[in-house]
């Protein structure tokens, strides 16, 4: 290899030696810096063209996200979600206990009200009977006489004998 290089140097004409091996061409400033970006952009344009879509004019770099998140955000996010879920679960649990208690209380209240109404009705009925205004003397007399008559049916004339013995004869005659 070294021998071949030496030979080619030997064979190089003078004008080539004078011109040197540096090309006369130049590139615009910052060209190579932009080249990668431009190639990426072009390939993206091609991909879009294949998709039969309009080609956005903005450079490829723009498709990157300008947004940031606080450090370690995605490590803490599952924990935050889990905490909120637990809160929700306990809220549902509390709510179900609350509803159960409320339903039990309502039932107890209804039973209580029904009991009070029943007792009131009974008291009203008792009061009706006990009320002197509702006392019917005729019924009482009738009942008494029925009982008395049925008992005296076996001994006819007892009442008459009693009346004759107890009431003054003159007064009786006057009354008759």
């Amino acid at each position: 290899m070294c021998l071949r290089i030496k030979q080619s140097t030997k064979m190089e004409p003078d004008f080539l030696k004078k011109a040197g091996n540096k090309p006369p061409f130049e590139v615009p400033a910052g060209y190579f810096k932009q080249l990668h970006q431009r190639i990426t952009e072009e390939t993206r344009r091609d991909r879009n063209a294949l998709r039969d879509e309009p080609i956005p004019v903005f450079p490829a770099a723009v498709s990157e996200n300008p947004f940031a998140v606080p450090e370690g955000y995605f490590e803490t996010l599952p924990g935050q979600i889990s905490r909120r879920l637990n809160k929700q679960k306990s809220a549902i649990h509390d709510r179900s206990i609350y509803y159960k208690t409320a339903i039990a209380a309502c039932l107890a209240l209804l039973l209580g009200i029904a009991g009070v109404i029943q007792v009131k009705k009974m008291i009203q009925a008792d009061n009706f009977i006990a009320n002197i205004a509702n006392f019917d003397e005729e019924i009482l007399v009738e009942e008494y006489l029925e009982a008395r008559l049925s008992a005296t049916e076996e001994q006819p004339g007892e009442m008459e004998t009693y009346i004759l013995n107890q009431v003054d004869e003159g007064m009786l005659i006057q009354e008759l």
Partner: protein, 183 residues
């Protein structure tokens, strides 16, 4: 980004009460970044994105039992995330003091003021341009350009035809080009 786990096995473990928590934790680890970046690009602020991501995963926890497996798990998760973001943005718009212009301005303000933004000028300019798009076009552009989702996947997530999505993307790109060329 974490690797996508074997969805079927993961779902089976989630349905088993003994392995439910571990399976869900695995799911969070696998999808948290994809969900976060999707949400972040839509709501811009880290604080809002953080809150929404947590809500999205809680919603996933509550409804994963109902997931029938007709679609891919990740498209189902994306759909939940997208719906949550859309509702969030609507809620913000519905505030009586916020007009449509004010809403766009609010997001721009967040883009300029959020402490967790470190992109270069060009990246920020693109984000500003994206914020000028109508919501649906913004969504389609983000999913196609940044998340590199396929149209049929997007169609499943957004429940829109592939043709309509292509048209949305086309309009979005044209508007962004105009924004860039006008300077």
């Amino acid at each position: 980004m974490a690797e996508t786990p074997d969805d079927k096995a993961l779902l089976e473990r989630f349905r088993n009460p003994a392995t439910r928590d571990a399976a869900f934790n695995e799911l969070v680890l696998a999808y948290q970044q994809r969900v976060y970046w999707h949400v972040r690009r839509l709501v811009i602020s880290h604080e809002d994105a953080d809150d929404l991501v947590q809500e999205i995963f809680i919603r996933i926890w509550n409804h994963l039992d109902n997931f029938r497996g007709d679609a891919q798990l990740f498209t189902w998760i994306y759909r939940i995330a997208t719906n949550e973001c859309t509702s969030f943005l609507k809620r913000k718009k519905m505030k009586p003091t916020v007009s449509i212009d004010q809403d766009e301005g609010r997001l721009l303000e967040k883009l300029r003021e959020d402490p967790y933004i470190n992109g270069n000028e060009l990246q920020l300019k693109l984000q500003e341009a994206i914020l000028t798009l109508p919501e649906k076009q913004r969504l389609v552009f983000n999913m196609r350009y940044f998340d590199e989702l396929k149209y049929d996947e997007m169609s499943e997530i957004l429940e829109t035809s592939v043709g309509a999505l292509k048209a949305s993307y086309h309009h979005a790109v044209k508007k962004l080009e105009q924004y860039f060329t006008k300077g």
